[in-house]
Every structure is written in C-alpha cells, then in structure tokens.
Symmetry: C3
C-alpha cells in the first residue's frame, strides 16, 4: 500500500515537473531556470502545505527520490522539448492523475497534523494546485488555475471526500480511492466537455 502511494506520488511529481519545465523552455530560460521551474512545480504544492501545517522539513527534503524525479523530468524536457511539447495534450491526462493523488494525500496528511476537515480539504487543494501557482508566479504570469479551466474545484472535492470519509471511520484506503476517483473523473470530464468556472458578469467598474 505505502509503496503504491509513493509510486503514485512520484508519478504525479514527474508529470507536474514536466509542465513546469515546458513553461520554462517557452520562456526561453536556461537549463537551470528550467530545472527550478520543474522542481517548484512538482514539489511546490507539498512544500506550501508542509510549511503551513508545520510539517518541516518537508518530506521531499528527506527522501532523495523526491528530488531526483523533478530533476530527471526537467532534464528530459529540456533536451527533448519539441517531442514533449507535441504530447502535451496527453500529458494533461496524467496531470489529472497527479492532481487526484496530491489532493487526497495532502488532505489526509493535514488531518494527521491536527487540522479539522474543512482546512484539511483546503490543504489538499493547496497540495494539488500550489506547485502550478508557484510556477506561474516565477514565470511572470497570472496563475492559469485562476482562469477558465476547472482545476481547483475537483481537487477540493477529492480532498473533502477523503477527510470526511476518514472522520466517519471508513477505511482510509477506501476513502482515499473514492476521493481520488471523484477528482479524476470530474477533472477529465471538465477537460473533455470543456467545462469552465463562472466568470464575472457585466463590465467591471474601474
């Protein structure tokens, strides 16, 4: 079970890191900038969560695999960015897997550190979307998660299902799978059907 979780976690980090590295290549950053964007995108959400809940140093600083994976993703993307960019549509599906794993794992870790369900679900969402937000801020653009695509809401829902199920004394494995499945299906449906979050109506006053 734990080995499965770690593997899923590393896959999620790898996919997130690819998205960060692609942004870096498109901004014409050097290899170091690409690696930093890969690392912050893959690990940033977990770092934010761990710093906020007081779980320092973050797990990724205590296990070399968590550092190796984004470096590998960054180097591969830097070297073969043409090929990686061409399969980006497919990468988005893996990204949804990563989001599902992160939101559930993050929410459950937050409850371990004493947070009640709503803040814990929020920490799950932060784990899922935080890396991409840091990536966008470092790349000098407004976080894409703030515009259009449904991305954060599925993560919040997945985290909430996991922590509420755990509080109801359901087996952790069951609630974790249920939360991740809801997040994944919702996110994939949003991608497939082009669902978006509501935008403000009417002209904005200045």
């Amino acid at each position: 079970m734990t080995a499965t979780l770690v593997t899923l976690d590393l896959v999620g980090i790898f996919v997130f890191a690819i998205s960060g590295a692609l942004v870096g290549v498109r901004k014409d950053l050097d290899v170091f900038g690409v690696l930093v964007l890969a690392g912050t995108t893959g690990l940033g959400g977990g770092f934010l969560r761990d710093v906020l809940i007081g779980a320092t140093p973050p797990a990724a600083l205590a296990d070399w695999r968590y550092l190796l994976v984004p470096v590998a993703a960054g180097l591969v993307t830097f070297a073969f960015h043409g090929a990686v960019g061409r399969v980006e549509r497919q990468v988005v599906v893996f990204d949804a897997f990563g989001l599902s794993v992160f939101c559930v794992a993050g929410a459950l870790k937050a409850t371990d550190y004493g947070l009640s369900p709503i803040p814990a679900a929020l920490m799950g969402m932060v784990t899922g979307i935080g890396g991409g937000m840091v990536r966008d801020v470092l790349a000098g653009r407004v976080p894409v998660v703030f515009r259009g695509e449904l991305y954060a809401t599925p993560a919040l829902a997945g985290g909430a299902i996991a922590v509420l199920g755990e509080r109801a004394d359901l087996p952790v494995a069951v609630v974790a799978v249920a939360g991740a499945a809801v997040c994944l299906v919702w996110r994939l449906l949003a991608l497939w059907r082009g669902w978006t979050a509501p935008l403000p109506t009417g002209p904005a006053s200045v």
Copy 2:
C-alpha cells in the same frame, strides 16, 4: 475583550478580502480565482507572520470562521462587483480599520512567540501589508504598497507602539488601543491629505 478582538479581526479580514476580490474581478478571473485572491488577501498577512514566527498551523486553519469570512466576501464581491466597486472609496476607510487591528494583533502575537520589540513590530507590519502583497504578486502586478500611498509606515508605527508599551508593563488593552489609534489616524490623514512616501530623486542610472 477577546470577543471584541475576534470580531475586529474578522471585520478586517472581510474588508481585505473584498479588496482582493475586486482585483480578481478586474483581472477577469473566474469565480475560483476571485475566491483565492479574496482568501489570500484576507488571510495572507497572518499566514506569513505565523509561518515566520513558527506558529503553525496558522490560527485561520484552526477556526472555520476565518475561512468562511473571506469566502463570503469573495462571493458577494463576485456577484455584485458593480455595486461593491462603486463604494470602494468608502471601503478604503474600513481597510484602514483592518490595517490598525492587524498591525497591533500581529505585533503582540510575535512578542508572545519570543520576538523582541523591533522584529515584533515588523511582524505587525507584515500582518497588515502581507495579504495585499500576495494579492498583487498573484495578480501579476508590483505591490501597490510599494508605490505612492502611505500604508506600511502607519502599520509599523502602530505595531511598535503596542509592543514597546507592553514591554513598559502598561496594560495590554491600553497599548493595543493606542497603537491601533495611531495607525488609524495616520492612515486616514494620509488618505485625506494625499500624503505620499518619498520617491527617488533624479534619474535612475541604468
């Protein structure tokens, strides 16, 4: 006394969150982006302070009211942004109240965690201005607190008065009110008279 403080704190968060949500609406973000900007503007200063002084998890993650208030402010602003935008000049006065409460509460909390007066006053200022800085970075603009308007200096002064008074063994209620009053009056005078912080003189070398 504590109930009064919590109420003032929540009012401050509500007003700060409105300013964040308005920025989000004007940047044409979706409802989720507006809520995140509302939340980070309302709670970001306290989060920054708590992470820096080691008071994790931040209080706002342990009390559901602190999460509900910015969500409510964000939803109201999202739905009625035209009307909210028209009363923005009046919101600025409430914002000065929020700043006054935050700088004093933040500075006193920092002394509780063992900081000496100057760093504690600085943490009071961070509590007051940090949320707006995070809002501006996420919205892709240079923090407005860095340009023109006198905003941070009153917060620093208010925090300093509170912690120096406390160190002089004056009653906490007295020094808190004194610090908040100085911050509030200074800030309102700056708004009313158009006081600004000095700008660099002469051309900047490139």
Copy 3:
C-alpha cells in the same frame, strides 16, 4: 571564528540588499518599497531556508543587526542611487562573496537541522539565490537567475562541497573555506569569461 562568520554574513546581506534597492529605484518605487526590496533581497534566502527546515523564527528576527544592515543599505542606495548605480559592476564582485558565504552557511545550517547532504546543498543554494528570486517576483520580473548568467550552479557546488566534507569528518572550518572558495572562483570566472548556462535548442513548440 564566529565573529568572522557573522561579519561575512552581514557583508553579504549588505551587498544583496544594495542590489535589491537598486531594482526598486529603477522601478520608481517609493522609499518604503525600496527598503522592502532591500530587506527581502538581503534576508529572503535565509528566511526561505529557515522556514523550509523548520528553524523558526529565522535568525534575522532574533538579532537586530540583521535588520539594521539591509535598512542601512536601502537608505544609502535610495539617497545616492546615482553613485551606487555607477559602481554596480564592482558591486557584482562583492555579490559573489556574499553568494559564497551564504551557500556554505546555509548548507551547514541545514545539516544541523537533520537534512542529508543533497537536500542540505540545495538549501545552501536556496540561501544564496532565494533573496534575489523574491526581489524579482516582487518587482514583477522573471528571476534573472533563470536567464543566462551562471549564478546558482556555483552556489550549489559550494554548498555540496561543505556538507560532503563535513560528513567525511573534515574540520568544519576547512570545508567551509573550500566550499566558499570553489563557489567564489567559479562565479568570478563566469563573470570574467562570460560563461552562461545552456539555453534550449531549437524552436519551442507552442
């Protein structure tokens, strides 16, 4: 020995703070914005490291000299930005000294907090480059460390040498000087010879 380290540390903070203040002046920020950029550039790397390894509150909040130095650097730069800007090429050399001290001190502090060598070397790099990254994000530009100049790699190497040497039971003073010297020489050679990090080859797919 400790007095030497503190002095070197303060010199590094002073030089970093000047670079931050110059960016603020060129962005036409007011005196407060210039001081905040001076402070975050001088102290931000250490703050990031301390928050990540759980060493809160950061040392700079417990020792008034660490707050006074960036304020002094900021005020001097604000008042005499023309003269400071003209010697910026020379400041870059001092900046390399600061980077060397920071990467070694940061990496050794991280091992004190239980990190293993690779993450500790990474924390040394974060200490050296973090302040400049925060400066650039607050000033609304992509961190310069991501583009062109070799800056982060020497810091990573310096930190790695220090922690690996310490793990090999060599005297701390020796490994610290060795790590700082490698970082310094590498950085100065890069400046002198115009070495840059590799850029992506070929057109980026959109």
